[in-house]
Amino acid sequence: MKRVKRRYLALQLESETLPSEREFMDAVWASLTKLYGEVGASLAGLVLINFDGKRKIFVVRTSLASLLMVRASLAMVTVVAGKAASVNVLAVSGTLKALYANVA
């Protein structure tokens, strides 16, 4: 079986409040499902890897094949935990080490 290539994304949340990890991921999943449906969303393999509450930075992992889909869905997020918010992609990388080096 062919190995699935992955990409790690560092996301900066801009919102007045700090949502929990669950609330953030719910908003991302809702946006992804709204745009691409349940089948499309299932192909993304989206997983939360890390969460820095202080800097409001979330690290998520997705498959390379659905990177564009995920980026478009992230740009479409306008509400997180009932508050107006936006999600900016700070960096995209193939390894966590390089991603943290980029974001730091």
Partner: protein, 244 residues
């Protein structure tokens, strides 16, 4: 070399100074090199100078843009004759087929914009694209409706945009993606703005061109034309001699 990112359509109330200031600073932080706020046709010198100064202070280039929604062809030509040399970018919001065709034909028009909510008034078809490809007009797509709409309305808009963008690409009409937003929370990083292009059929490089190269080319071309040294495309005054 980094791409010069451009957002030619930030909607602000220029009289609301604090919000304007915040938007300009945020645009600079996000990595935009050129931004523009549309004016109708009257630009107060003080307003323009204040905006330009705020943009320069933030390290960003301000582009003077006019949006016009003519009712007839005559209105359009009159507007262009009167204001073309006063603005760096001219955008025509096409409300009728007659105006859309004339705007696509006219080489003084830079951007063609269509109403987002009324799908019957989106006249960017193959005939329009053919006319636009012979002139210098580009198709402008605003992202804001995609962010604020939901459900069937958004599906319909996406479907229209996908069709129009496919036609534009077929006829080599440049596509310009702008935000069209007036609130900080709806502003997106240039690359995130480009990623939304994927929703209506732009591939990664075309989407990046739509927020950088395509609008930047329009701005630089018009600045060259408006400079006092411009004679004709490719010909400009390099040095002036003293009369003997």
């Amino acid at each position: 070399m980094t791409r010069p990112f451009v957002d030619l359509h930030l909607r602000i109330n220029t009289k609301d100074q604090p919000v304007t200031q915040r938007l300009i600073i945020k645009a600079a932080q996000m990595g935009y090199h050129f931004i523009s706020f549309p004016f109708t046709n009257v630009v107060h010198e003080t307003e323009f100078v204040a905006l330009k100064a705020a943009c320069t202070q933030a390290g960003i280039d301000f582009v003077l843009r006019a949006d016009f929604k003519p009712r007839t062809q005559e209105d359009l030509t009159l507007f262009l004759r009167k204001f073309r040399r006063s603005f760096e970018v001219i955008c025509i919001v096409c409300d009728s087929k007659e105006v859309a065709r004339q705007a696509a034909k006219d080489r003084r028009v830079d951007l063609l914009n269509f109403p987002n909510l009324d799908y019957h008034k989106r006249f960017f078809d193959r005939a329009e694209a053919e006319l636009a490809s012979c002139s210098l007009a580009a198709l402008e797509v605003d992202i804001k409706p995609l962010l604020v709409m939901e459900g069937p309305a958004r599906v319909r808009l996406l479907s229209c945009l996908r069709r129009e963008v496919a036609i534009a690409l077929e006829f080599h009409v440049p596509v310009v993606v702008s935000s069209g937003v007036g609130e900080e929370v709806l502003m997106r990083l240039p690359r995130d703005l480009a990623s939304l292009g994927y929703l209506f059929g732009l591939n990664a490089s075309e989407a990046l061109d739509a927020v950088s190269t395509n609008p930047a080319v329009i701005v630089l071309r018009n600045r060259e034309k408006l400079s006092s040294r411009f004679i004709a495309p490719g010909i400009s005054i390099v040095k002036e001699g003293k009369p003997k």
